[in-house]
């Protein structure tokens, strides 16, 4: 047999990989690099000035109070919604850990909100919160004994609870599903042994269950944290960032700047600010959570 057949070209595997790598670079890396270049230009609705503008757009980021407020709104929503989703998801997972009649059907029903498109969920909740046609105010009115005129998407004191409620409604099942899978894999003999030794629920959870589910839980927290940081659809459908700009998140602000006001270069700079923040936070979180091990 000729040697070439026995020892095929060692580089052949790389040739096989080349198209896939090329495609990934084309759709992944190229837009990123192109956006970075655009962020150093001054392209907007009226001008397509592609000359090098230095740090003009990045300097403007620091003067733009609306941008920093939108970042603060994003962090506020993340800081409130994420722990609630985690705790509720965990509680629900514990509840469904034991075998019970109709368990599979309940799980399937609980997961339904997650499979709805966020924009549809937002639009649906907007209708539910509507003062004239929505059932929420009507139901509240039954309890109050008089007509309730709560303007959920306009009143500044109600709008965040409304947004966070929708967010939790839609994404808690995601946490639930992941944590249910993680809890199902915890070695029961260990928790039973702890129980026999007199450990209460909390100690058993803290020292046996949590370490066992932590890798999965950490991933779930990271995914949901990132999702919440780029939250757009549900808020856009509910309030479009209003009243005023009180619920404008960083993604909504970037969308308004880029696609409604055509501040193309400035929007690219915003995108890179977000990338920088997320890179730092993710790196810190991955190390802190021990996911890199």
């Amino acid at each position: 047999m000729p040697a070439i057949a026995v020892h095929p070209d060692r580089n052949f595997k790389y040739w096989l990989l080349t198209p896939a790598i090329f495609l990934l670079l084309l759709v992944g890396l190229f837009p990123l690099i192109y956006s970075l270049i655009v962020s150093f230009m001054r392209i907007d609705m009226m001008d397509t000035d592609t000359s090098f503008a230095g740090l003009y757009n990045y300097a403007n980021l620091f003067k733009d109070s609306r941008l920093w407020w939108s970042l603060a709104h994003t962090l506020l929503i993340t800081a409130i919604a994420l722990p609630i989703e985690l705790l509720l998801g965990l509680a629900m997972a514990y509840l469904f850990l034991e075998k019970m009649p109709g368990r599979q059907i309940f799980i399937a029903l609980l997961v339904l909100p997650t499979i709805i498109s966020p924009i549809v969920a937002g639009a649906t909740w907007r209708l539910l919160f509507d003062n004239k046609y929505g059932p929420i105010n009507q139901i509240l009115g039954w309890f109050a004994g008089e007509r309730v005129n709560a303007l959920w998407t306009i009143n500044p004191t109600l709008v965040y609870p409304a947004i966070i409620f929708c967010e939790i409604w839609q994404w808690t099942p995601f946490m639930f599903l992941i944590l249910l899978a993680a809890l199902s894999n915890v070695d029961k003999s260990q928790t039973e042994a702890a129980e026999i030794d007199g450990a209460r629920f909390w100690r058993s959870f803290r020292y046996i269950v949590l370490p066992a589910i932590w890798p999965v839980m950490a991933i779930a927290i990271l995914i949901r944290g990132l999702d919440l940081f780029r939250i757009f659809d549900i808020i856009w459908a509910l309030t479009q960032g209003g009243p005023g700009t009180k619920t404008e998140t960083i993604s909504i602000y970037a969308y308004v700047q880029g696609f409604k006001q055509f501040e193309t270069s400035y929007t690219a700079a915003i995108a890179f600010l977000v990338i920088a923040i997320l890179t730092i936070v993710c790196t810190w979180a991955i190390r802190r959570m021990g996911l890199a091990k």
């Binding site: 009226m46 004239k132 303007l151 306009i154 009243p243 308004v256 006001q261 055509f262």
Partner: protein, 485 residues
């Protein structure tokens, strides 16, 4: 290019085959519609793509004008439905990318300076002359023709929609002797029917709400911020406000007039239905048609639907059944200068590869003959915009009060106020939308408008004060920019 054979068919020999300069005007004895049809036959078999507002508006090209154009010329019309909020973006994206996906466009007149200056729109003067359309174009009602067609003296769009705010009021309620007596007793004067200024309007509306205790409200309005922008622009100018100091280009929306408008709005919500702050087009329509409100202000379709015109069509099943047909009066909005809110012009995309065919299609749509049919379509939302539409006996016979309706539209058109139109208008409008939204969140009117004025100034600075000043001066010189006080 139009062939001699085509020209022969319509009996206007020698005209169409030549270039614009070679054509004798008299050659176009045919009307704009026929001329467009004959000239367009050379493009038979081609497809033109037109951007149209998604929803009801699109039923015009989908169900009526598109199929009819195909039948007459052999040209297919592909309709790209786009929500109004995304229209500008899509048009600009197509232009910037050079894709040329759209041939003809629906353009809101206040966008025209931006689109024309960016180069996204084809200048239409040469086409208008080439196809002998200028005389017929000039028969469009002066407000739309003189104010919504040109940028820097050049035609970029054919005004195609007579959008104007109209005040609708319940004649049975306002003519009720008990209400009128109560008004006289309370205010010491005869009740004006209909009210012609905001003070009277508010007094009448408040009294109706007071006398009918949750069964009938005196008035309701668009309060949702997207619509509130138009309402603010109208009322601010009726109160004597100016958007800018013409010398310095500093924003003056935080003037007394502006603060008065926002303060009055908050006060008016007390006699309006609960939750009116959230109301947009549909909520306000439903309340009026169901007889829950006695007065309102909106676009012309409300008047048609209140009279039950066209609402028996399947596509109109979402419109609540009118309980007030025959009981609706039409008038100009308080102050006498209604907003020519939004509206549409037909334009040709500069990136189009079928400019000639696209132009001929929009000329045909916009012509006297075709447009009259289109504004009468029960399901479409194009409103009368030609002098001939306002006086058409066929239209006036569509429902018993249609003649009064047409008169109100014509009066509105003659006295209407243009939407503010500058470079990057949407940025200024966005600030107004947010201001309205902040008002409903309970912020102080003066503080809201001071912030808005500062934001307007920042936008002007960024665009370039001198550049914007010139555009504003051009806009402010138009007859519909500010009321003649």
């Amino acid at each position: 290019m139009v062939t001699r054979r085509d020209v022969g068919k319509i009996g206007i020999a020698a005209g169409l085959a030549g270039s614009a300069g070679m054509m004798p005007r008299a050659a176009f004895a045919a009307d704009g519609a026929s001329a467009a049809v004959e000239a367009a036959k050379q493009f038979s078999g081609q497809t033109i793509t037109i951007v149209w507002e998604a929803g009801l508006q699109s039923l015009d090209p989908l169900n009526f004008s598109g199929p009819k154009w195909k039948e007459l010329t052999g040209i297919d019309v592909k309709v790209v439905e786009v929500p109004v909020a995304e229209m500008f973006t899509k048009i600009m994206q197509d232009f910037r990318s050079g894709a040329g996906a759209y041939d003809a466009l629906n353009v809101i007149p206040s966008w025209m300076p931006d689109l024309a200056n960016a180069g996204a729109l084809e200048e239409l003067d040469s086409y208008v002359d080439k196809y002998g359309y200028r005389d017929e174009l000039m028969k469009i009602a002066p407000t739309y023709r003189d104010n919504q067609m040109k940028v820097n003296g050049k035609i970029f769009g054919l005004p195609d929609d007579g959008d104007v705010f109209v005040m609708y009021y319940r004649t049975d309620v306002l003519n009720d002797p008990a209400l009128q007596a109560a008004y006289k007793e309370k205010h010491g004067a005869d009740m004006p029917v209909p009210p012609t200024n905001w003070k009277d309007f508010d007094q009448v509306a408040a009294l109706i709400s007071e006398m009918n205790k949750d069964k009938l409200y005196g008035a309701a309005f668009f309060r949702e911020s997207g619509y509130g922008n138009f309402m603010f622009q109208e009322r601010f100018r009726n109160e004597g406000g100016k958007f800018f100091d013409a010398d310095t280009m500093k924003a003056t929306i935080n003037s007394e007039a502006g603060v008065k408008v926002l303060t009055d709005w908050v006060a008016e919500n007390k006699f309006a239905p609960p939750g009116v702050e959230q109301w947009g087009f549909v909520e306000n329509l439903a309340a009026f048609l169901q007889g829950q409100t006695a007065m309102t202000i909106s676009w012309p379709p409300y008047g048609r639907w209140a009279a039950s015109y066209g609402t028996d069509q399947e596509v109109m099943s979402w419109v609540p059944k009118s309980t007030i047909a025959g009981k609706v009066g039409y008038a100009m909005t308080p102050g006498g200068h209604p907003q020519l809110a939004a509206g549409f012009c037909l334009s040709v995309s500069s990136a189009s590869k079928n400019k000639e065919a696209a132009y001929l299609f929009i000329q045909w749509l916009n012509s006297e003959a075709t447009s009259l049919e289109r504004v009468k379509l029960p399901y479409a939302l194009r409103d009368p915009f030609r002098d001939s539409h306002f006086t058409d006996p066929g239209y006036a016979a569509l429902w018993p009060e249609a003649k009064d309706y047409l008169k109100a539209l014509q009066d509105g058109a003659n006295n209407g106020l243009l939407d503010l139109s500058l470079l990057q208008t949407d940025k200024y409008e966005e600030v107004l939308r947010q201001s309205v939204s902040k008002l409903w969140a309970g912020e102080d009117p003066k503080a809201i408008l001071d912030t808005a004025a500062a934001e307007w100034d920042a936008i002007t600075d960024k665009i370039g004060t001198d550049k914007q000043k010139a555009v504003y001066a051009d806009w402010a010189s138009k007859s519909g920019a500010y009321p003649k006080m």
